[in-house]
């Protein structure tokens, strides 16, 4: 539908009447919810987080959100002066944003970890790697969780 001038004016009028500019509703589409942002800031501090170098493997269509296989790997030579210090994984819609922190070192040989996680719903999963030079790299993936047709009521 096209926004008519009348429609636009009524929106503008609404904003004026409220007396504030609704910044919150104007955040970008990919914005992270506050809890997730806070959890990430607790790990990275004020450091910038760049996209890249991290790979997150989760089945594109999860069969059951209670046990989801996940592998995170980071492109790194894993030498004594260039290695991955840690990998941190977060989610958007579980009751708590943290999934796990994994601490590696140059003796790891390969910067890759696997585990099984719980995803309460279709949502974003964020994996962040901290390298030996204290730069942070991330990947964000949208995971679709299908709900089983015949689930058992909690007993």
């Amino acid at each position: 539908m096209q926004t008519t001038r009348r429609h636009f004016l009524s929106i503008a009028g609404g904003v004026a009447a409220a007396g504030t500019i609704p910044i919150v509703t104007l955040r970008p589409l990919q914005a992270t919810p506050p809890m997730l942002t806070t959890a990430i800031r607790n790990v990275v501090g004020e450091a910038p987080v760049r996209t890249g170098r991290v790979k997150l493997d989760i089945p594109p269509l999860v069969e059951n959100g209670n046990t989801v296989p996940m592998t995170v790997s980071v492109a790194s030579p894993m030498t004594t002066d260039d290695y991955v210090k840690s990998i941190h994984v977060f989610n958007e819609k579980n009751p708590q944003p943290n999934i796990g922190n994994f601490y590696l070192g140059p003796s790891s040989g390969r910067a890759q970890i696997s585990t099984r996680i719980r995803l309460a719903d279709t949502q974003k999963v964020v994996a962040i790697a901290r390298l030996s030079d204290d730069t942070f790299w991330q990947i964000t993936t949208e995971i679709v969780v299908t709900l089983a047709a015949c689930t058992e009521e909690m007993n």
Partner: protein, 105 residues
Amino acid sequence: MAALINVPAKGRRGDVIEIRTLTSHIMETGFRHTADGAPVPRDIITSFTCRYNGAEIFRADLFPAIAANPYLSFFTVAKESGKFEFEWTGDNGYSSSASASITVE
């Protein structure tokens, strides 16, 4: 309560080897309620450590989003023959351990 450890029995010096661990634990999130509405208290493993001949080579902090019977896979460089020691600790004083040995040629 059992744990399953997969470490190659043999390796060549310098090989990057995969270590897989699986241990029994319910990983109760603390976010669930009983049918009567009473909260089920959190009971999870919060930390996992792997030592290779005494030196820590891998550690993990686990949260309620880790599935029951936690599975972890990670890598290390085979340096010398010896022992891997695994330790899981968690809520309510939970602690369990396991070990596996490797021969490095």
